[in-house]
Amino acid sequence: MESSVLFLLNTSYAVLTLALVVLGLAIIFGLLGVLNMAHGEFVAIGAYCAFAVQSAGLPLILSLPLAIITTGAVGWLIEASVIRHLYKRPFDTLLATWGLSILLREGIELAFGLEYRSVSEPVSGSVRLLGVDYPIYRIMLMVALLIGFAALYVWYRRSNAGVRVRAMIANPQLATIVGIDTQKLARLAFAAGAASAGLAGAMLAPLVRIEPFMGIDFLLQSFFVLVVGGLGSLEGLFIGSSLIGGAESAGSTLMGGTAGYVTVLLISILFLWLKPEGLHARR
């Protein structure tokens, strides 16, 4: 009983945090068709924001706005200076964002050095849930993410701005024809995708090792989720996160961490091979 509750909690945690990490990549790919190879570096910048805030002796909650503003601004600048010249040239955007990822990584190394950093949890201790002790920070994080994703889903499905975003994904030409400023929307989307990656980094900072190369793992994981879930919809993002997060969690619980990673890799290869569209591709 206890082990299954623990497994359930661990899996929910894995799925929710994975969905948070993938969100930025999915926004940028879904709206702009750009596979952002620098995605992981935005997560890293967010995590370093948390480190900087804690080092300065400030309350850790301040790292959330700091990460959003920093990564959002960096994303905005990158779109305005580089990406906007490269739309509809997928290979060029791949190369450009890959180059940017190296640049950002070197920038982080220059500012903070190569050594591992850590951020301590803002609330320590654990709560007893259905017979198991579970870290309170993880529970808080899961609740916040659930509320956040529910709000995002309602916004995406119901609000006028959400309809416009879906319209731009469905038919960008027609979107400009009916008067939507798709250039502005594209810049906002890139900044929002970067900011959500930064937010993910700041929220996960107490739970991961922080070093300049940390972004690569996040990029890979996010990429697998998009492969499995399909591109361009929130539903696909959740399905992909559930499958990848669930498989990794189950694999590691049953057979250890490496097995979890191998399971994820196998699933992704099978999907690329047999169902390259993903489970919930946009029509």
Partner: protein, 231 residues
Amino acid sequence: MSMQQFTVQNLATGYGDLQVLQDISFDVGAGECLCIAGRNGVGKTTLMRALSGELPLISGGIQMQGTEISALPTNRRHGLGLSYGPQDSVTFAPLSVKENLTLHYQDQNLERYEHLFALFPRIRERLEQSAGSLSGGERKILSFTRVMAEDAQVVLLDEPTEGVAPENIDHMATVIRSTLQARHSVIVVEQNLSLIEAIADRVIVMDHGAIIHETANGPELRNEISNLLKV
């Protein structure tokens, strides 16, 4: 001389290195309907894409009420009062019909469509359906209602009747005529000679990327154009 509502001067455009249109010039007055005819592949849709801003010009100019618009992106031209119904991909397929009609309005009010729903009741019946589930003709009608309800100074329509049933083509002519009465200008690329006869003031015939003939609407129009369109 009164200022023309819409003027095209020596327009040339194309795709990449390939020039498709050369030396296109015409103007359209307030309350006037210009129809553009020609066989498939002579550059009619390319011309509409250049006028709407989807395609940059190689040279020449486009003026709306005296303002040069050829450097403006499509959404800015829309803001200045240019409405455009393209030939293909005319809807946001995954969105509902209702969302297709309201997403570009802050108030999301369907009242502005009432007079159009009266003529095309199918659209009202399908408001909650996704636009992608409509037939080709219904999608064209959806696009037509979206464009005509915008009440813009200048309306561009690229083959609005493609796949549309004859009685609905008649309704389209009625809507276009009332727009013209409101002193708006309409430019229509069209194959359907009956619609051309019903709405046109003047007709331009294109071939090989240039204007080869210009004529006024009249009893001889059908013969005149049919001869030019013969392969």
